[in-house]
C-alpha cells in the first residue's frame, strides 16, 4: 500500500495499539500505512502505550532513532518541581532532553550532578515562571532546532557524547549511593 498522506492530516490515524495515537514522524522507515485507519499490527513502539508505568524497565528500542526527548512531566503549572521516571528516561537512553515541566527542573537536575545541553539547547525556559510564556519559549526552541539538518543533529549528539555518558553513569551512581547518603544523615 502506498503511503502518501501528509503528516498533519493523519495524526491520530495511526495507532499501534488501542488508544495510542502517533503521528507520521514515526514513519521514518516507511513501513507504516494509515490509509485504512486500522490499528497498525506490527507496532513500532513495541505495543507499549504507557511504557514507563507498565514495563519493568524504561527501555524503548526506538529511542536510538531520536536525538532529543521532549519530556512532558507529570506536572507543569505546579508549585514544585517533580522528577519522575519521565525525566530519567532520556538519561538512561543517552538522549538530550527538553523538559515540559515546572520551572527549575533543569537547575534541580544540575544540583543533583547531572549535566544539561546548553548552549545547543537554549535553557532559558527553565527560569520562566509564567506557564504560557514558558511554553512559548519551549516551542520557539523546538522550532529553532527543527531547522537543523539531521546531519547537524547527529554532529551535535557526538559533541555531547561525553555529557550523555556522564548523565547515564551519574544516574547509576545516584541509584547506588543517594539513599545511603540521605539515610545516614537522619
Amino acid at each position: 500500500m502506498q503511503f502518501h498522506t501528509k503528516a498533519l492530516k493523519v495524526f491520530h490515524r495511526i495507532y499501534p495499539e488501542p488508544f495510542t495515537r502517533i503521528n507520521e514522524a514515526w514513519n521514518f522507515s516507511n513501513d507504516m500505512d494509515s490509509s485504512d485507519q486500522k490499528p497498525y499490527k506490527n507496532p513500532l513502539i513495541e505495543g507499549k502505550s504507557n511504557i514507563h508505568q507498565t514495563s519493568k524497565n524504561l527501555y524503548c528500542k526506538f529511542y536510538k532513532n531520536f536525538a532529543i526527548d521532549i519530556v512532558t512531566e507529570t506536572v507543569y503549572n505546579y508549585p514544585y518541581t517533580q522528577v519522575t521516571e519521565k525525566t530519567i528516561r532520556p538519561i538512561v537512553h543517552k538522549r538530550m532532553f527538553i523538559i515540559v515541566g515546572s520551572p527549575g527542573m533543569l537547575s534541580l537536575l544540575q544540583s543533583k550532578g547531572f549535566k544539561t545541553f546548553s548552549p545547543f539547547i537554549n535553557e532559558e525556559y527553565d527560569t520562566i515562571q509564567d506557564p504560557h510564556k514558558r511554553m512559548e519559549c519551549i516551542v520557539e526552541e523546538l522550532t529553532r532546532i527543527s531547522k537543523f539538518s539531521i546531519d547537524e543533529i547527529r554532529q551535535t549528539m557526538l559533541q555531547y557524547k561525553d555529557t550523555l555518558k556522564h548523565n547515564y553513569d551519574h544516574y547509576h551512581w545516584l541509584c547506588h549511593n543517594e539513599i545511603e547518603q540521605i539515610v545516614n544523615k537522619l
Binding site: R21, H52, N57, F66, D69, L108, I182, L186
Partner: protein, 187 residues
C-alpha cells in the same frame, strides 16, 4: 504495593523501627483509610525509633491562594486528631521545599520536638525512577538518529495538549515524533 523502593525501606530499617509504610495515593481520597492503618499500630507510648513512612510522589491538590496542599493539610490533621506524634512520621516526597507547608500547618511550639522528618531531596527513591537500573547500557550510534526528537506524551493533560497543539500549529509534527495516549478508541 508502595511506590517507595525496597532499597530505601531497607536502609531506613537499619536506623528505625518502621511501623507501617503507606503512599499518599492509598488514602488521599479517603483519609479514614489512613486513620484505620495508623490506629492498628498506634501505641500508648511510642519508642524513640518508631516511625511511619509515608511516600508522597504524586500530585497534590492546591486551592487558589492556599499555601498548602489538601493532602498535606489532611495528613497533619489526621496525625494531630488521632494523637499520634508527628515526629513518628517520615515523609518522603518528590516535592522539594514542601517543608514550608508543614511549618504552616503544625503549631510553632511543636516545631522543635514534634515535627516530621521530611525527605524531599532524594530523586532515586521511587521505584519508577529506579527502573532504568534494569536496563543494559546501549551503544550510542549517531547514524541511528533519523529524527530530531520524540515526545511520549502519554496521558492527556493540559500542558501536553498545549505542546501538541503548538507542534501542530508550527508544522513540527514532521520533525518530532509524538505518541499520545487517548482514553477512547479513535474513530
Amino acid at each position: 504495593m508502595t511506590i517507595i523502593s525496597s532499597a530505601f525501606i531497607e536502609a531506613l530499617s537499619t536506623k528505625f523501627n518502621i511501623l507501617d509504610v503507606l503512599d499518599v495515593t492509598e488514602f488521599d481520597s479517603n483519609f479514614n483509610i489512613l486513620v484505620n492503618r495508623l490506629l492498628k499500630t498506634k501505641k500508648e507510648h511510642f519508642a524513640p525509633k518508631d516511625r511511619y513512612l509515608i511516600g508522597h510522589v504524586d500530585t497534590d491538590y492546591y486551592l487558589p491562594d492556599c499555601p498548602y496542599g489538601l493532602s498535606t493539610f489532611n495528613l497533619v490533621r489526621t496525625f494531630l486528631h488521632n494523637d499520634i506524634p508527628l515526629n513518628t512520621l517520615i515523609f518522603l516526597t518528590n516535592h522539594p521545599g514542601i517543608k514550608k507547608e508543614f511549618e504552616l500547618l503544625i503549631p510553632k511550639e511543636m516545631h522543635k520536638h514534634n515535627f516530621p522528618t521530611i525527605i524531599d531531596n532524594c530523586i532515586t527513591v521511587p521505584k519508577t525512577v529506579r527502573l532504568g537500573l534494569n536496563q543494559e547500557e546501549t551503544n550510542f550510534n549517531d547514524l541511528d538518529i533519523v529524527k530530531h526528537g520524540v515526545s511520549m506524551i502519554g496521558e492527556p493533560r493540559i500542558h501536553r495538549n498545549m505542546l501538541y497543539n503548538q507542534l501542530n500549529e508550527k508544522n513540527l509534527l514532521d520533525v518530532y515524533a509524538v505518541s499520545y495516549k487517548g482514553t477512547k478508541s479513535v474513530s
